[in-house]
Structure formats: C-alpha cells, structure tokens
Amino acid sequence: MRDAFANFLRLPGAGAALSLIGILAFFVIFGSVDLVQLMGAASWVNFAANLGIVAIPVGLLMIAGELDISIGAMIPAGSMTVAIVSGHYELPIIFGMIAALGLGVIVGTINGLLTIRTTVPSLIITLGTLVAMQGIVLTASKVLTGAASVAVTAPEWAKVIFGSLLGASHQVIIVWWVIIAVIFWFVVHKQRFGNWLFAMGGDRDSARNAGIPVDRMTITLFILSATAATFVGMCQAILFNSAQVSGGMGIIFNVIVSVVVGGTLLTGGFGSVIGIFIGTLTFAIVNQGIYFTQIDRNWSNLIIGATLLIAVGMNESFRSLAMSMVARPKKPA
C-alpha cells in the first residue's frame, strides 16, 4: 500500500487531485454548497473546457522550458476574426474558421521564430506579441466594422460541431477538450515527441546535441498554443453569436494557475497532460464554485489566491516526499 501511495504521489497530477478534493471539502463545509447541485452544474465544466484546451499546449511549452502569454489576446483574436470575416463581411463560415485558425498558425510561427532566433526569453517575446495583438484586434474591429463588438450567425452545421449545447447547458467544446486531451496524452506519453519534450525542458543544449530537432519542436509548440487559443475563440463566436474586443489579461493568469496547480514545473522538464487536465478542473471549481456558496463574491480573489498557494505548496511537498520515499527492497526468497 505504501508503494502504491508513493507511486501515486510521484504523479505530477497528484497534488492537483488532492487539491481538488480539498477545495470541494472547503466549499461544502464553509460555503454550505449542495454538492449534488455543483456536480450537475455545467458552468464550471464549460469554464474548464474553454480554459483547458489552451492550458494543455501552454503547459507543454512550460515543460519544454518556454512561456506563452500571448494566448490572452489570441482567444479574442480568434473570435473577432470569425465575426469579422463571416459576420461583418458575410463570407461563408468556413472562411472565418480557416482565417481564425490560420491567424493562430501565423502568430505561433512568429513567436517560435523570434524565440529561437534571438536570445530574448519567450516571456518577453510573447509579452510583445500580446500587446501587439491587443492592438491589432482593437484596430481591426474599429476600423473595419466601426464597433468593438461584432455579431455573427453561424449556419446549423457549424453550430452543431463547434457551438451547441448538449443537454441543457453543457457546451459541446467539452467533448473537444476531452478529445484534444486524449490526443495530447497519447503523443506526449506514448510517443517520441514526449521524450523530446521532456529532454528539451531538462537541458536544451544537451537535447540539441542528442539530435532532437529542438528548433522545429519549439515552433510547433508555439503554433499549437496560439492555434488552440484561436480555436477556443472561434467556438465561442459560433456558440454565442458575437465577438468582443478585449485585453485578455485575466485569461493569462487563469491558464498559468491551471498549469501550475496541475503539477507542471515552471522551470521545465516536469509535468503531465493528466496533471494539467486535473489542474484545470480544480481551478474551474475554485473560480466558479464560489457562486454556489453563501460566501460574498467580494472575497473570491482571496480564495483563488489562497487555493493557488496551497495547491502548489502541496505539489511541491508531495514531489519532495515522493522522491524521498524509496521502495523497500523485496526480501529474497
């Protein structure tokens, strides 16, 4: 049993799973939350799905030792692209979708190229692309449509696949999230790509010397994160029939918190897709669960901050605990 427990703790997602249980207990005990009602509610699952699709590639970038904060502006960029192309200019929705995803590829490529070609850290580069994209979205919206909020009505087929509700209020993007998570899990934990990823995060130069195509992987990862963000924006525009200009600052912190609570090390080289998945769920419950409690909304940020510190603290202690727990040698027969 002790070995099983030690193995459990060694998983990057362990801290996240325990934090999840902890925060649920907190809400139930101190917030008089109806657990059954909370579980049945869609709001936090929707929130988790929209966040989770972006969190996974950003988390992989972190494992590889890089950061991408431009995703904050890429989500509204994706929805605004769909809205302007298919709403304002009334081109078929497929053009809007291709344009949104294409924008993600372009910005991801820029982020990746600048990261590998210069010695400027990716945090700073993506900070620059973040500010630039905020400006581009605002300008495009105002100059092309004259407003900061653009409407778009997608045809039935697009809505069914990307922007509909299952049941009463569960968004179909939840299905996309699970599919994407499974694909990433497979690629990262069952394929060579994953080994390369962890090697890059461990020591970039050693990885390069070992023959890993570090540059190509970096660009690929940045493209994945930017495109994931525009994909989420695209689905939102299709589901909610509108897009809005925004700075996207809030999203950045949400993604970083989800990834880190999920056990990913900021310094790179450690993490897992399952961990990020659970971390996203935990953050979603923290963020949305407070609406189900009697606690005054004004304290919500305090709860988020405390949860973050406690969850990451638990991650750290488990990691050191797990590393120090050595399996007892089997007695010779």
Binding site: M1, F5, L24, A25, V28, I29, S32, V33, D34, L35, V36, Q37, G40, A41, A42, S43, N46, F47, P76, V131, Q134, G135, L138, S141, K142, A147, A148, S149, A151, V152, T153, A168, S169, Q236, F240, N241, S242, Q244, V245, S246, G247, G248, M249, G250, I251, N287, Q288, Y291, F292, R297, N298, S300
Partner: protein, 325 residues
C-alpha cells in the same frame, strides 16, 4: 488499506453534511446577474439588490448575485451566468441584456423553463418584450451617453471627446456611442479616444493621455468620462494642459470625489442612472410576483438618466457617502 478507509469515510461524511445543510424553504430564490464586483457603478446596484434582499429573506427566500470577474468577454460570461442561475434552481432571474446576440438564447432558456424574468440596466423595454420578461427596470447605457452629450451640447460645448479606458466592453462602448449621438443631436461634433491596455487601471496614464490629446487637438472643449476614476484623472489632465475653465467635463456615474469636483466647479455634470433603484426594484418586483402573483402594469420603469450638476448636487451628497448613489 487504511488510506482507502479514510478516503471513504471522508466522502461519506461530506455527502451527509450536504444533506443535512440543505434546507427547504418557502420563499423565492432570486438570482441577479450584474457587473464585476469591483465596478463602482455595479457595487451600487448590488447594494440596492442586497437591500431588497432583506425583504426577500424575511419571507424565506434568498438573493444571489452572479457577476463576471472582468469584462474581457462580457456577453459570453453573462450568458453562462444566466444558464448557471437556471442550473442552481432559480425561482426568478434578473439580468441585463448587454449583448443580445450572445445573451438572448440564455434568456430564452430562462423563460422556456417557466422562470419569471426581469430585464434591467441594458436592452430597454424592447428586450423585455422580445424575450417575454415581466418588465424592464433601469436606464439604458446608450441613452445615458446621449443625455450627457445633449447636456454638454446645450451648455456650450461644440466638440466633445469620450474617453474609453476599457475598449471592447459593451456597456462602455454604448456610453461613448450615445455621447456622440447626443452631441450630434445638438448640432455639434464628437470623437472617442480609446486608451491602450498599458493604461488600464492607471489614473495617471488617463490624465496624461487627456492632456496630450487636448494640447494636440485644441478645438476640443468638452470631455466625457466613462469610469469614476477616469473623471478625476481627466480633471487633472485638463488642469495640467492649462485649460481649466475652458474645457467642460461630464461623466457617467459619480461618487464623493466626483461630487466634490462638481461642487468646486471643475466638473460640470454627471449622469445619474440610479443604480441602487435598478437593483432594488428589479428584485422587489420579482419577489412580489413569485410569492404573491403581483405585477406592475407600467412596463418600462426608467431609473434614469438623470443629470447631477451644480444645481441639484446638495441632495445627492449624503447618498454618495453611504454608497447608495
């Protein structure tokens, strides 16, 4: 083995606890969708809703406030909150129709579920009629901007500037667009100055931006603020540009700082939407309807826009210090 037992016991305890804590009651569970918690205007609306909640709770019900964390994705977040209210078993829903394309389907779901609905703050009576809501309570953001523009136009302004420190948020955009229409109605012109994200939450940046813009565009003689702190920054910016007394200032909402500016003559007017009334009446109407089947035959209860200027400022001062105006 032990660990498994502990886990099972904890889970069982938790589930029992929720069962014990769940009570049954006879009153109305009303859910109010509003703005973010640190928004100066919306905290007043929330105050009105909380004061009405005193009655609701006395009758065995509850009022729950649902607001987004920020305005980055207003229509989407609000629509989600509306659906969440349904999921949480609302007996009645109060909500603003900020972004019709995004929020109408959610409001429709409320009505389809047989839950009485009151629209407030945005959308007007057209939204209430379209969605099948009981009533509309409030001032319309767009009209608030128009009122400000028209007051300035009728009081000597010829070229106005609307300062938008949160480009993209539907309510702020409505203020500026309405302001432009108000000025144009009186035969004058208007423009909008959006501020970059690097200026967000920085009153100094607003002051400096306004100062620079005024110096570069000397034909502007009126500035319109869309946020409380912006109004304070704008007055300073005008002072620093050396144009105190030549450029008028008006703005949306007010608080003690702004009222003291009006008393001192540095600001000419503030548009009052009486947020307190919006929250108070919307909740009260719903409560009366759910519990006793009462209704207000007058459709469209406007709480504004009113203008606070030097003429009627005295009465508003005490309310502002209490957080109700």
């Amino acid at each position: 083995m032990k660990f498994g037992k502990i886990l099972a016991t904890t889970a069982a305890l938790a589930l029992t606890a929720t069962g014990v804590l769940a009570e049954s009651h006879s009153g109305a569970d009303i859910f109010v969708i509003g703005g973010k918690p640190d928004d100066p205007f919306w905290s007043i609306v929330k105050r009105g809703a909380e004061d009405a909640a005193l009655v609701v709770e006395a009758q065995g019900g509850s009022v729950t406030w649902l607001g987004p964390q920020n305005y980055d994705n207003l229509g989407v977040d609000a629509a989600e909150l509306i659906r969440q209210a349904i999921d949480q078993g609302a007996d009645g829903v109060v909500g603003p129709n900020w972004v019709p394309e995004a929020m109408d389907p959610a409001f429709q779901a409320v009505v389809d579920a047989g839950i009485p609905l009151v629209i407030y703050n945005a959308g007007g009576i057209e939204a209430a009629d379209r969605l099948g809501a009981l009533n509309y309570v409030g001032a319309v953001d767009y009209l608030a901007g128009v009122a400000g523009g028209e007051w300035l136009g009728n009081n000597g302004a010829t070229n106005g500037l609307c300062v938008n420190s949160l480009p993209g948020a539907a309510n702020i955009e409505d203020y500026c667009n309405g302001f432009a229409e108000g000025l144009e109605n009186t035969g004058n012109s208007a423009s909008t100055m959006p501020l970059p994200a690097t200026a967000q939450g920085n009153v100094t940046a607003v002051a400096q931006a306004v100062r620079a813009h005024l110096l570069q565009n000397p034909e502007i003689d009126a500035v319109f603020a869309t946020a409380n702190l912006d109004a304070v920054g704008i007055v300073q910016g005008i002072q620093q540009a050396g144009k105190a007394g030549q450029v008028q200032v008006c703005g949306i909402n007010f608080d003690e700082a702004i009222l003291s500016q009006i008393s001192a003559g540095a600001q000419s007017c503030a548009v009052d939407q009486q947020g307190y009334q919006q929250g108070f009446y919307a909740v009260s109407i719903l409560n009366g309807h759910i519990n006793y089947g009462l209704s207000i035959p007058t459709r469209e209860i406007l709480t504004g826009p009113g203008i606070v200027d030097a003429a009627n400022i005295a009465a508003t001062l005490s309310g502002a210090s209490e957080g109700t105006r």
